[in-house]
Amino acid sequence: MSLLTTLARLQAVRSGRAEPLATVLHRHLVERPMVLVPLAAAGEAGAPLAVMLGRDRERPTLLTVPQPLDRDRRFTFLAELAAELLPYLESFGEQVEVLTKETKDAETGEKTEVSRELCLDAPQIIVPNRGGIDLLGLLGRSTRFRRTAEDPDPGPYPAPARVPLLGRWLTHLRERSQVPGSSMLLAMTDLLGRHWATGQSTLEDQHLGALLAWLDPPAGLTGTEAALRAETARDERGQLLCPPAGPTTDPRFDSGLLAPAITRYDAARQLEQAGHPADPAAVAAREQDIDDLLRSILLPVWDQLWQGLDLLRTLPAAEHLPERWTGDRWSYTAHRDRLAAGEPPQPVQDDAVTAARKLAQREREQTTVEVQEALDDPLAMAEHRLAGEALAGVVVEVEAAYDTTGRSPKPRPLVTVRTADRPHADLGRELHRAGGPAKQQARLYGVDPGQGTITVQLVNGMGRKKEPEPGSVPAPGDQVCFTLFELTARQSAPLPEPEDTPWTHGGPPDRSGTEGRTEGRTDGRTDGRTEER
């Protein structure tokens, strides 16, 4: 946490409600995102219990697994989830723009035009918290290697047809969510935590109900009181008034309501299987009971997610959002192309080159997102100013000066700025102008703490003539900002193709496609959960 965030939290403690951490919205929000609340079965790794999802606030779809240990029920659930999610995920693959780029052929040196498709939009899924993202990743991991009945060797437990495809999409979304600044799969607690500071710790902010209690406390309550109520208040049955936003459920819900309901369902199933057609609707009724229970704890979270979206939409969108969303569109398009090309599912472990590329991309995107947020939001720039990495203020004097060392004199005007900022830099240090009309660099020329001014010398971005282009040099009274850091992320050193992985890094990966196969086989044969029942 930075000092400015800490200060905002301190202010929130005093004011009793959340304080802004941003003046603009820093993550792209599509008009109608897919809102999804996943629940996991306690104690089982990545075993789903229920999902509530949809793009219409008034009409959520509920999918449940009445008996989480039953493999068939889980497959049915995953097939239903695939039927709900895949049409949405695939719907963006049709509409594309075609971008052409001129490239030089490496061997002949001839210029050729390469055209690539880029999908016009991409899907966006909003889950309550990072646990939800992790659960979707686990579901992706557990389903993408599954074999289906259409497979030449389907194994003893073939999965429904579209389930492995769902797994590959979920894996991709979860991978993408690791890239800083990406917006295809977002956690509501992260979104709200980026834009507002509460009067509690970041740890407590992971509770979506408590976080929203600070953002929008009910009338007559302070954030502290409302958050405490969200965390601990229980009804007369001992159930939380504000159920946790998943993926785990409240243990007292499990023991008090869910476990008995599942036991009754199991009993009804056993009666049915034993051939007692006493009440043919008994199993369906018990299943309905479980659905009702899960709906009762999912609906409050569902409403919280939409409330969170409403709050986020009160902020104006930051300027660089379309640029970053284009990155998500590229990522979506690339995955669409991989699927169309019939590539095998994403491997369990990346090969050396892919892993290095992913890391380099994440580092680059981290830098980009930090710089862009600073450019978009004075509050984000304030972080850099406080850290001595930027200076901002009002121009008080502009003195024309020239570099006469060359054949013709070049403009090198001196701009004096009134500011209390003290950049951590020696004189002569290169500065970058933020928010100027064009890319422009400057040098730190002088610091006068007595007058409270800093003088910088502009070195480029003023045209080729002796006198600077109009508008390229700030005038007295203008607000200017210069940074010590560059305003674009540097490209990392090129990496070889995976086929050219040097032996020091394990050599070229084995691309015979057996990895996924063996994995699927082991999984299929020894998924012991059902036997355990």
Binding site: L7, G43, A45, L203, T232, P378, M381, G471
Partner: protein, 415 residues
Amino acid sequence: MNHVETGEPRTPLEQRLATLRGGAPQRGLDARALAALAANPGCRRRAVLDAAGVDKAALATRLGHPAAFGQSPFAIGRGLAFERRVTADGCTELLALLRRHLALPAPYNQADDDSPVEIPALVTDPKRPAERIASTRAALTRAAARPGVWTLLDHPLLRLDVAGSAVHLEPDVIAVRPDGRWTVVEIKSFPILDGSADPAKVGAAARQAAVYVLALRATAADIAGSDARDSSPYREPEGLAGAPTATALLVCPKDFSNRPTAAAIDVRKAMAVTRRQLDRLTLIEQLLDALPPGTHVDLDPSRSDGQLNSAVAAMDAAYSPDCLASCELAFHCREEARCGGSVEALGRGVRGEVGSLRTVDEALDAANGTPGDPGGPGDEAAARLGRAAALRAEALGTLGALAATRVGARTGGRE
């Protein structure tokens, strides 16, 4: 094992702690509680209450801030089923894992190791801890005398002296290997997925295993007749006293199945940390001396909540939000910290950032430049906060104006 009977108080310290408890039955310190001490070593309240064996969950309920802990019946069921599976059929699966994952010296490192396996019957009656400890000790002594045999002790009971009082610990399994070394086996129900597991859970398991290794070392030293107190985890004693290895075997479900897999984890660091914390616990007497005379946290309904509150308040707490995940009293301490305006309620790191300023009000006064900040005019933290507040106000206040000039500059540049 929360309710191991520890018998009548004997030492003066135990007597004092029993008084503090006010006649209520003592809750035994288990490995989890001992390991958690390392998580927040500065908390005197926790140290005293844990050492006295006070039921903190019941205390928290009486104080009006019940703990939010609990385990789902599904998770408990799954954990038990997994442990049963690992130790089923004379520990067949466990033995296979031990053979595969522990590096034994020659001549026991053959692929087709066929050393005989023994699973001695131990006393299991939870009402007779002394006999359980004796039978564990006897089994270990017997196993030590016969190399070349795998001896697996299922749920043995070990004794560790902590701050003058006895703590009883129950590891899942202790394996005496054919080469005479003893390995602690910890069975957990979180998965090892594609060769890696949740680091927080592995860390907790390692700290717990470290406590068992410490207890096992004490037992080994006792059997060998040497002194275990001064042994560092990084230096293994000679002979029998050095039999327990500092590498524990963590057994977990593999991927999404419930087949077991295992990983050897080095717990020496966790041992060193826990050892240091346990040594600090001997300072309990000093902590007790600091309490007002007659302080006790008797949960008897006849005591008023006010009395109980002031008794708890007499013990200094070191609350940080991390406590919410591990301590039953956390909600009470949080309330207390918030009422006192402590900055630590916002996170441990906050304290470092605001330097000498201890309360929210002090920090905000410094930020607003109000005189009277305790650090004085030269206080760096106060100055930085003041600067931060100015920048924040500027960014939030001049937003409209700044955006307007920027847009103006941009359009101006295009023309």
